[in-house]
Symmetry: D2
C-alpha cells in the first residue's frame, strides 16, 4: 500500500536526523534558549530581511494557532475564517476553548477576500455580538489554493482600514511560496501580515512550526503564553536544530518544490485523462473528481482520503505529496488512474 | 563549563536516535495511531500488568498536567497541591488558564499526606468556595523526595473515602521508581492512582511523556482533549518510537538508575565534607546547603541553580544529574567542593 | 413616541412591586435560600407536577444560558443551535467564552428538527472536531414561531437515540405556552427536555429567569456554577418574591396571554391590509413586511426595530408586545398602518 | 430571632421601592441605556468630580469582580490579593474560572501594603510563572478594617512604579468612606485607583454595584464584557433607578453612617464589658472574641456567624449591621452580652 493520504506519513529529512545525532551530547540551555534555536531564529529573520520580528518555535499547527490567536485577542474579540478553515473545522474547537468565537465565511475555493469579510463586519454592530478582530487565512488553503501578492496586499489594506489583524496559517507555507507563479516570499509574508507561521512538520521536519510575529504589542510576553499552554519544550533544541537545518541553505524550499512537482505530475496526468478538480491547486494537495468505481479500484493499492461526494457516481479525493514522495510511487498511481480511466 | 543545571541539557539516548533513523521512511498513520505508538502503549500496559488502562503520549509535562487535570475536573472543582508543586508555581498558571484553582498546602519536604489535605477539605464547605476534587502529587517531588508504597496507599484510601481523584506528575518517575529503598513500581502506580505520567523528556527521550489513565470515566474521549489543546502531533510516531525504545527492554530504568547513582555520589561526597541538605533526596536532584563563597567559587566551572537563601552566609543549590551525566564531571565537581570546603 | 421595540420597556407588574414592598423588612437568608425563593421553587415544581426537578432563579437569559450550557458540557462538547439562535448571534460569544463551540444550522423559521441536526452529527466524526452534545432550542424562537408537542417529542426521541441533551431557552416561554393551539405546558416541557428556563424578565418581572433541570447528573453542584459565574445574588429574595407572585396564581400566563392578544390584533389588522410576514408567529413578536416608505412614516410616532431587508422597497420590522402593552397604543399603530397602506 | 448575620437580610431602602413604583410604566431603552441609568452615572461622575471615568451598573460583587478583572488582564497575568480577600476565598474560583491565578498574601488585618506585595513581584521572575499585574484590595476589608488616604497613595505610587493596576472591591465602600477618621472620598478613590466599585446591594439597594473605571484603555469595549458574562440586564433601569435614588442626595452615605453607628454601639459596649476583637474595625462588620458559652447563649436569640476559633474556650464571631438595623435590636444584643459577661 502506497500512501498519498497526507504529508506526515514519513519522518524527517535525513539531514535533520543527522544533525540531531551530531549535536546530541552538547549541553544546552532549555526552553528554546539553546544556541540552535537562537541561531535558527536569526536565519529566519535574515531570510525575511528584517530584525523587528520575533520567531518562536512550537510543536504543531493547532498549538500554534490557538496560542497565537488567543494571545492576540481580547476576550470579546473573534476570528474570521473561511468555512473550510482549519481552525473552524479541524481543531476540535481549540480556538473556542480559549474563549473566542470563529466566524465562518462560505467561500468557493477556501480563500478570503475583503468583499467576503465586509458583510461579517456589517453584521456585527454592537456589544450584543462578538467583535470581529482577526482575519485567519491559510496559505495554501485547505483546498490547496494559494494567495497572490496582490490578494494579500488587498487584504492588508482592508485590515488596516478596519482595524483588523491579519494572521496566516502556514502549515504548508513552503508549498505555497514555491509555486512557479507566486510573487510572495517570506519577506512579503512578514510585511503583509501581523503574524504567520512557517510549517515544518509538513515540510521535512519531524515536528515544529516557526511563528513569526511583527507588531511589538503582539510580541510582548509571548513566551508566557507558550509556557501557559504547554508549548515551551524543555528540550527546545529539538525544534531549533530542525529549523536550523532547514534554513541553513535552501533545504526547506527544495523539499517544498519536490512535493509540488510530484503533485504537479499527478495533476497533469489526471487532467490528461480528462478528469476535473474540486479546486485549482498548484500545491502539494490536489482534489481530483473521479468516478466512484475508479476510486474503489485505486483504494486496493493506494491510501488516500475520499473528500466529498460530487454527484451520484463521482467523488473528490485528496491526494497529498510530500518531500518524501517517490517518483516511482507517483508513476504507479498515474498508471493506475490511466488504466482505470474507463471505469464508470 | 560543566552543567548540573537540569536533566534536559542533552538530547536523547543514542538508541532512540538510531531507531528514529531506521524507521524514518516507513509510511505510518498520523496523530498517534502509528504502529510504534500502539506498540509502545502495549509495552507499557504489559509492564503495568493490566489491560484496563489507556496510555497516551504527549509532548511535555505542563501540557500533560493541564490536559489531564482540565479534562478530569468539572468547572467548579479544584486541585490540591503542595505549595512547591510544579502546577502551583512553575507552569505559568496553566491550570488556572483552564479555569481551575490550585489550592496550595505548605509542606516541609514537598510531599502531601492525608493530614495535610484534610484541613483543605474542612475549609471548603459550600458553593461560595471551589470544590476540592483532585490531589496532585509529584513523585519524585520538586525537592527530590519520594513516596513510599505505604504513603501512596494511605493517600489512595483517603481519596477514596473523600471522593477525590489522585494524580501523579511523574516528570522524573524513573528516578523515583529506581531508588534502592522503593517498593513502588509501574504496576502499583497504576493501581494506586487514577492517572499518572511516565516522564520521558527528563529520562532519556528527546521529548515525550506517557500518560496512564485508569478509570473508564476519565478515559472517555481523551483524544478530543489532546487535540483541542494542541497535543495530538501529526507525526505522533516521534513519541511512539521513543517510548518503544525506552520500554523495549529495561532502558528507561537503566537510565534513571545511572542518574540516581551520579547524584548519589555527589551526595555522599558532600555529606562527607560535612555539608547538609534542604531535603533528603535519594533521586537525581539534590539540594546541598553550601557557604556562599564556595558557591561563588563553584560557579566558575560549573553551571547550576542557586535555589534558596538559608542564612546570612549559606544558600542551597540544586544539582541535577541525568542519563547523560559523565562520571568524570561528577568527580570534577566533588573535587571542587572538597577543595573549597574551608571557604566561608 | 409609543414603543413596540421590545417586551422589556416597562418595569414589573404592579403586584410584584407591591409584594416587594410588603416583604421588604423581613429578615431572610441570602443567596437564594430565603423563604420566598424556596416557596417559589415549590410552586413551580407543583405546576410542573414532579418533585424530581431543581429550580434555580437567575438574573437574565444570557446568564442562564451560559451557566446551564457550560455546566452541562465537558470541554470538547458543543451545542447545536439554529443560525438565528440567541446563543449563536446575540450573546456576545458567551458560550464560546466558556470554551464551547456553537454549531449553527440554517433554518427557515428558526426551528430545529431531527433532519436538520442529523447532518451535523454526520459531519463530526472524530476527535479532530468538536463533539456535538446539546441541542439548543428557543421556544418561542427568535422569529416568534413555536414548537408543537409532537415536534418536541420527536426531538426528545432523536436526542435519546443519539446521546444528546435537549435544552430550551424560554425567555418568552409564557408566550409560547399560551398560544391557543399549543399542546405544551410546563409539565411537558420538564418531561421532554433535560433543562429549560421560564423567562420572567420578558413576562412581567423586573428581572429573573427560573431554570428547571431534570437529570440528577446535571443537577449536581449547580449552585457552585451559579456562584462561580456571579449569578448567586446575596438578596436572592428579589428573584424569589417575583416568581412567587407570578406563580401564586395564574398571573404569569395571564400576562403572556395579554401580550399574545395584543400581538394578535396587530397581526390580524396587518394581514387585513394585505401585508405579509417573515414567519408565522402566534406569539408576542411579529415580523410584518412593509413598504419602506410606510416604515419611515410609522417611525415618526412609534419605536420598533427594522429587522431585515426583503426587497428593494420592502423590509421586515419587528413589533413586540408585552404584559404592559395598552390597547389604545395597539389601536393607534393599527390606524397608522391602515392610513399608510397605500404608501409605496 | 434577630439577625446580625449580614447586611443583606432585608430588602431595599423604602425610597428606592417608591421610585421603582413611580417610574414603573414609563417606557425606557433596555440594557443600561435607559434615562435613569444615564442620569445615575452622571450623578456619580459629578460626585467624583471628573468626567473622564466610565460608570457601569452590575448585579453583584462577584460578577463585578470577575468581569472587571478578566477584562483588565491578559491571559498570563495574575491578581494579587490578601489571603482573606473575597476573590481568593469566597467567589468559588470565579477569577480562576476566567483563566487568571490569584496570588495570595498573608496579612494580619486583611490589608495590603507595598512591602507585602514586593515579595510577590520578586518571586515571579520569568515566563515559567504567571505575571503579577493587578492589586486587588477590599475597602473595607473582609475584616472590617479600612485604608487611609496615605495608605492608598502609597499603594498607587508603588503600582505606578511597578506597572501594576490597582482595583478596589467596594462591596461596603459606603461604610469605609463614612468612618469618622477617613480622609478618603469618591473623588480620591477614582484618582488613586484604576477601577473600583461602589457597592449598592449591601448599602440600601435591592441589587446593584456601580463600577467606576478611569484609564481609557480599560474603559474600551467594556459593555462587550458585561454582555458576554451575562451582566447586561435587559431591564437595566432596575439598577439605574436604585443608584439614582441613592445618589440624588446623600442617601447612600446616610445609610452607611447608620450601619456604622449601630456597629459602633455594639463595639463600645463589647469593649466596655472587656472583650477584645479580631481586628480593629470602625465599619459595619465587627469581630468580637467571646467565650464559647456566651456565644451559645447568644445564639438562642440572635443569628450571626461564628468566625474562627481563637483558643480552647473562645471564638470570634461576626456581627454585621446594615442601613436597616434597628436601635432596639442593637440594644437587645448589648443587653444579652452584658448579661452573659460572666459566662465562661
Amino acid at each position: 500500500m502506497i500512501s498519498f493520504k497526507n504529508d506526515y506519513s514519513e519522518g524527517a529529512h535525513p539531514r535533520i536526523l543527522k544533525t540531531l545525532m551530531e549535536t546530541n551530547l552538547k549541553q544546552e540551555e532549555g526552553y528554546g534558549l539553546d544556541s540552535y534555536s537562537l541561531e535558527a531564529a536569526r536565519l529566519i529573520r535574515d531570510r525575511i530581511g528584517r530584525e523587528d520580528v520575533d520567531v518562536h518555535f512550537l510543536s504543531g499547527g493547532t498549538q500554534t494557532n490557538l496560542i497565537a490567536i488567543s494571545s492576540f485577542l481580547r476576550p470579546h474579540e473573534a476570528a474570521i475564517a473561511a468555512q473550510t478553515g482549519h481552525i473552524f473545522v479541524h481543531e476540535a474547537g481549540a480556538i473556542e476553548s480559549t474563549g473566542h468565537k470563529v466566524l465562518a465565511v462560505v467561500t468557493r475555493d477556501g480563500k478570503l477576500a475583503p468583499e467576503q469579510i465586509q458583510p461579517v463586519l456589517d453584521f456585527h454592530t454592537d456589544e450584543h455580538m462578538v467583535k470581529p478582530r482577526l482575519v485567519y487565512l491559510s496559505n495554501p488553503t485547505e483546498l490547496g489554493t494559494v494567495y497572490s501578492r496582490q490578494e494579500l496586499e488587498d487584504l492588508r489594506s482592508f485590515c488596516d482600514e478596519k482595524g483588523l489583524l491579519l494572521y496566516v496559517d502556514g502549515a504548508r507555507l513552503g508549498s505555497a511560496l514555491c509555486v512557479p507563479e507566486t510573487d510572495l516570499d517570506l519577506g512579503s509574508m512578514a510585511q503583509l501580515t501581523d503574524a504567520f507561521y512557517i510549517g515544518g512538520t509538513k515540510c521535512g521536519a519531524l515536528i515544529g512550526e516557526a511563528l513569526v510575529i511583527r507588531p511589538p504589542s503582539l510580541r510582548q510576553d509571548f513566551r508566557f503564553y507558550m509556557k501557559q499552554k504547554g508549548a515551551l519544550l524543555s528540550k527546545g533544541r529539538l525544534l531549533g536544530i530542525q529549523f536550523l537545518e532547514l534554513f541553513r541553505d535552501d533545504l526547506y524550499f527544495e523539499l517544498a518544490r519536490h512535493a509540488n512537482r510530484m503533485a504537479g505530475r499527478l495533476k497533469s496526468a489526471i487532467e490528461g485523462v480528462g478528469f476535473g478538480f474540486l479546486a485549482d491547486s498548484p500545491t502539494n494537495q490536489i482534489f481530483p473528481i473521479l468516478p466512484d468505481s475508479l476510486i474503489d479500484e485505486l483504494k486496493k493499492d493506494f491510501d488516500f482520503y475520499t473528500w466529498s461526494r460530487v454527484d451520484d457516481s463521482h467523488s473528490s479525493i485528496r491526494l497529498v505529496t510530500s518531500w518524501a514522495t517517490r517518483q516511482e510511487d507517483v508513476a504507479a498511481l498515474i498508471q493506475a488512474i490511466e488504466t482505470g480511466r474507463d471505469l464508470r
